[in-house]
Every structure is written in structure tokens, then in C-alpha cells.
């Protein structure tokens, strides 16, 4: 293994550690489940779920898909 390969490996390792320490964007959804309990037929009920970025970088491409 030559010197440049070792340097590259060390560089990649350092970048991985750096990235994991900094964290980037981190999504947090404190409440993922909700129980309405008893609800009447032929009605509409709704519930709001909070989404927070608790990381230190911008959270992008937030999309919500049914199912």
C-alpha cells in the first residue's frame, strides 16, 4: 500500500467521523401515532403531527405520502 492510498483512506475516515459528529439535517417527529378512539360514521377527523429539524443543516425534500 503506497503513501497516497494511505492518505486517501485516512482522509475518507476523517470525513466520515467529521460528518457523523456534525450530524447534518436531522428530522424529528416526536409523536408518530395517534389514537382518535371512538369516532362517528360519516364524519371527518384530523390530527396534526409535528416535524422538526433538530440537526445543524437544512432539511430538504420533505414529502408526505399516504400509505
Amino acid at each position: 500500500m503506497n503513501r497516497s492510498t494511505v492518505s486517501l483512506a485516512i482522509g475518507l475516515f476523517t470525513a466520515a467521523i467529521y460528518s457523523s459528529v456534525l450530524g447534518g439535517a436531522v428530522i424529528s417527529v416526536p409523536e408518530k401515532e395517534w389514537d382518535f378512539g371512538v369516532v362517528p360514521q360519516q364524519s371527518t377527523v384530523s390530527h396534526e403531527y409535528w416535524i422538526k429539524n433538530i440537526g445543524d443543516d437544512t432539511l430538504r425534500n420533505i414529502i408526505v405520502k399516504p400509505g
Binding site: I27, V29, W34, V38, V39, W50, K52, N53, I62
Partner: protein, 194 residues
């Protein structure tokens, strides 16, 4: 346009809407929240409900009327909560507190085979479009544990065309995900927890 970006520390909300239709019994639905967070690129959010028809007397706690609908002529609604069970129950609102809606629970402890009174009053202006929210109560002492009350504040804009209004009730129970990405810092009706 939907906002799909959050700066560090920012929050937003997603609203799941469930039309019960003619569904009966226990039902669960879910949606996926996708994002650029590679460690949690897909998060599942879900809800469950137990749907009853008003004619079904087997349900132990029932509100009459079962839905609360305000319009220009009806700003106060008195509802009776019937405890058909054998246990005394205690009623406590846990989610869905709405700006401008005053809720008074006159008798939060309701003995077996008795009724409690809930008073709903709309104290705000009427929105342009219908406002639909849900108040969920914890029903302590009862096996049903929870009860949700749909609240509608009728909007001032014209309602859907009659052809839509006369459609038969839906046989399925669609779950729609409404874009509810709202400005950070705005005080919303944050759930008080389970």
C-alpha cells in the same frame, strides 16, 4: 406552494385527514414522511380509530349531537355525553384545542347511565372556507379510553355544487394528506400528548 425545507431548529406540521364514511369498527391508516435525512429518510406516521354508527347502542360513551357544526346562525352548541357503561367516567380534552373555540365541560365526571353536558361556543370570525378540526377527549374509567368530536366551522364562501353534495356516501375511507406546512413560530393546536 408547499414548503418542503426546514432550517435548523424549524418546525412544521403535517395533518392527516380521515373521512370515516360508512366504515365500521377499528381502522388504522398511515403516511410516510420522506426527507433528506439519510439516517431517517422515511418515517411512518399513523392513526387509529374505532368508528361507530349513531344507531349503535353498544358503544359505551356517546355524544349527542355527535358532530359540532357552527354557522352564522349557530355559534353555541350544547351537547350531551351519555355514559352507557357501568363505570363512572372522567372526561378530559387532550388534543385539538382550537383558537376562538370555547369549550366548557360542565360535568367532567359522569356516573353510570347518566349524561354530562358539553358547551361549545365559536367566538371568532367565520373563515372563508370550512374549518374542520377534531377535539379528542380522554375518557378515563371507560374501556373506550378515547372519544373524538369532529368540529366544523362553516365558511362564508359558496359551498360545493349540488351535484357533489348529492353524491352517495363514500363506501371507502380515503385518507388524505393535506399540505399543512405552516410558518414556524405560529402557535398551533399542538397535541397535549396521549
Amino acid at each position: 406552494m408547499q414548503k418542503n425545507v426546514l432550517a435548523p431548529g424549524e418546525s412544521t406540521v403535517v395533518e392527516l385527514i380521515f373521512n370515516t364514511g360508512l366504515t365500521k369498527g377499528k381502522v388504522g391508516k398511515s403516511a410516510s414522511v420522506l426527507s433528506s435525512d439519510s439516517a431517517a429518510a422515511k418515517i411512518l406516521i399513523s392513526f387509529r380509530a374505532n368508528v361507530f354508527a349513531s344507531a349503535d347502542t353498544s358503544v359505551r360513551v356517546w355524544l349527542n349531537p355527535e358532530k359540532v357544526e357552527f354557522d352564522q346562525k349557530t355559534k353555541k352548541i350544547r351537547a350531551e355525553l351519555e355514559n352507557r357503561g357501568r363505570e363512572e367516567i372522567t372526561l378530559r380534552p387532550i388534543a385539538g384545542i382550537i383558537d376562538h373555540l370555547k369549550l366548557k365541560v360542565k360535568d367532567n365526571k359522569i356516573a353510570s347511565d347518566n349524561k354530562g353536558v358539553l358547551e361549545f361556543e365559536w367566538k371568532g370570525d367565520f373563515p372563508e372556507k370550512d374549518l374542520k378540526k377534531t377535539i379528542t377527549f380522554a375518557v378515563e374509567g371507560s374501556p373506550i379510553e378515547r372519544l373524538s368530536v369532529p368540529v366544523v366551522v362553516k365558511g362564508t364562501s359558496p359551498q360545493p355544487a349540488p351535484s357533489q353534495a348529492t353524491k352517495p356516501p363514500q363506501q371507502n375511507n380515503p385518507t388524505t394528506v393535506k399540505d399543512a406546512i405552516k410558518p414556524v413560530g405560529k402557535q398551533l393546536d399542538k397535541p397535549a400528548g396521549k
